[in-house]
């Protein structure tokens, strides 16, 4: 009885919050419906058909985007692996080091990648290198946390059994913990690769190079036909990335 009343109260509160928030954003569902005409008009006359121009530049931008994502994920994986071992209490017994690593990862993770890119572009100027660095920063934050969770789960039993044989921590890591953790490591790596490919397509919008930079450029020049081609390329990249990571997951795991 008690729990049912609590559930009902919760629903009322949720509904009230929804109404208040919607009112606050001045979002009017009826207006949105009426404005549809204008929107579709814009899409059909300006964006369609996609204009194919400067194909070379488009391919270069797609390549840059993919390189940014793959490069950044690779670098992050190596850094996160090291930080992951240092941040797992069962493996690294210096509590202070572990706490520092976890705090550092959390700081990197909780600032969105677009914000990092924005800051770095402001500091170093436009370019793909800036895109890679901002992806690395946020991915290290994410992956370190996932690696620590994985290691924490695996560490207990395996470490006890191997430490009992008189083995030192380094051989225990390479001979037991890494093989045991490998499937999770790969799964998290692929997950971050997918996220980074998505993220790198929009990173260009704040000036970090790649397809996003090209796309915003076209939009700012009112060249909507060409922008639409770039948008299709973005969709193709993301779908391709999903298919690729799904395939890798099936094959490897």
């Amino acid at each position: 009885m008690e729990s049912r009343r609590a559930a009902r109260t919760f629903l009322y509160v949720l509904f009230a919050l929804f109404v208040i928030s919607t009112a606050f954003t001045k979002f009017n569902p009826i207006d949105a419906l009426l404005a549809q005409g204008e929107f579709w008009n814009f899409i059909f006359t300006d964006f369609i058909p996609p204009r194919i121009q400067r194909l070379g530049a488009l391919f270069t931008a797609v390549k840059q985007t993919l390189y940014m994502a793959i490069g950044a994920t690779g670098v992050s994986a190596v850094l996160s692996l090291i930080l992951g071992f240092l941040g797992t209490p069962a493996i690294c017994r210096f509590r202070l080091v572990g706490a520092l690593v976890r705090g550092f990862a959390s700081l990197l993770r909780n600032i969105p990648v677009l914000v990092w890119a924005f800051i770095l572009v402001a500091a170093f100027g436009i370019g793909t290198a800036v895109g890679v660095v901002s992806l690395v920063i946020s991915t290290v934050g994410e992956l370190t946390r996932y690696f620590i969770e994985t290691l924490d789960e695996i560490a207990g039993e395996n470490i006890e059994a191997l430490e009992a044989t008189g083995a030192g921590m380094l051989p225990v890591i390479t001979q037991a913990i890494v093989p045991a953790a490998m499937p999770s490591f790969i799964a998290w790596f692929l997950y971050c690769l997918e996220l980074n490919i998505r993220a790198s397509t929009i990173l260009g919008m704040v000036g970090a190079g790649g397809i996003g930079l090209l796309m915003t450029g076209y939009i700012k020049q009112y060249n909507y036909g060409a922008a639409s081609t770039a948008i299709i390329a973005v969709a193709a990249i993301i779908i391709g990335a999903n298919l690729l990571t799904d395939y890798l997951r099936r094959v490897i795991l």
Binding site: E157, N158, E160, A161, T165, L170, Q175, P179, A180
Partner: protein
């Protein structure tokens, strides 16, 4: 004789004073491969000690069953011996050498002589039987060779030989997680044997096995310990298994030793005292 008695009394009181070599030889004749004196362990989060003032010794090839209800401190006792758990007081001698209060490198060196078998086998499931067994050699290798997993040919031959003797010859390259529970535990025992231990600690080795498999494992453990003169300490919660396979029984209750004597002399009254329960309630579990 008087000197021995005085020293022994001091040891049993768990004095933190380290014994001199001369005293040690008087108190512990060399045939005792394991000596535990005044051992006490209180976990940080607990008010009551898990193990209090435990003193006993084990000789070469002796098979000792540690019985008692869950929470009696059996597991803690075993883990203090190879310092997987840090003892709060008392001392432990492995072949006459102190393992308590020595630096980590010395602990690792002493652990090589102490094999351990776990209830949940603690194998790396994704590795092969052979790879798991070779882990027993890591303590004897340099860090670099250990990190790279460069086991010597001699060690590998030895592993194959012991695996074949334990009827695991056809599973050398099977993944450990594909084996049955009984097979996994045999791999666990072989891994411990690869250390060429003088002491074998078995923590509930048959608690996750059905009676038929349990029997095979207990026989394997008993046979190898007798053959190689390994002093063996087995935690068991089944009295019947302890009665059948051990030479001597240590009964624990509430962290204290309430019985220590030959298995043959263990009376029903004593078992009831160890478990704090009447006999007919204890026989149901069976083996």
């Amino acid at each position: 004789m008087a000197r021995k008695a005085t020293a022994a009394r001091e040891v049993s009181r768990g004095l933190s004073r380290k014994l001199s070599r001369a005293e040690r030889e008087v108190v512990y004749p060399l045939r005792n491969i394991l000596e535990v004196g005044g051992l006490k362990k209180t976990y940080r989060s607990a008010r009551k000690p898990a193990v209090k003032d435990v003193t006993f010794s084990v000789t070469k090839g002796e098979m000792v069953g540690v019985i008692g209800p869950s929470g009696a401190g059996k597991s803690t006792l075993l883990r203090c011996i190879n310092r997987l758990v840090e003892p709060s007081a008392g001392h432990i001698l492995i072949g006459g050498e102190e393992i308590t209060g020595v630096p980590a490198s010395k602990v690792r060196q002493l652990r090589r002589r102490i094999g351990m078998v776990f209830q949940h086998y603690n194998l790396v499931g994704r590795l092969t039987v052979m790879q798991n067994v070779m882990h027993g050699r890591l303590g004897y290798m340099s860090t670099l060779r250990g990190v790279l997993g460069l086991y010597s040919e001699e060690d590998k031959r030895q592993a194959v030989k012991i695996l074949e003797q334990s009827e695991l010859g056809e599973f050398l390259y099977h993944r450990a997680d594909k084996l049955s529970g009984g097979q996994k535990q045999r791999v666990g025992v072989v891994r411990a044997l690869m250390q060429q231990p003088s002491i074998l600690l078995c923590d509930e080795p048959i608690a996750s096995l059905d009676p038929a498999r349990a029997q095979v494992i207990m026989e394997l453990i008993r046979n190898v310990c007798k053959e190689r003169e390994i002093a063996c300490l087995v935690n068991l919660h089944q009295v019947e298994a302890a009665a059948k396979y051990t030479d001597r029984i240590i009964g624990m209750n509430g962290g204290e030793v309430v019985y220590d004597g030959p298995t043959a002399n263990l009376s029903e009254q004593m078992v009831e005292r160890v478990y704090g329960k009447p006999m007919d309630q204890l026989m149901i579990k069976g083996i």
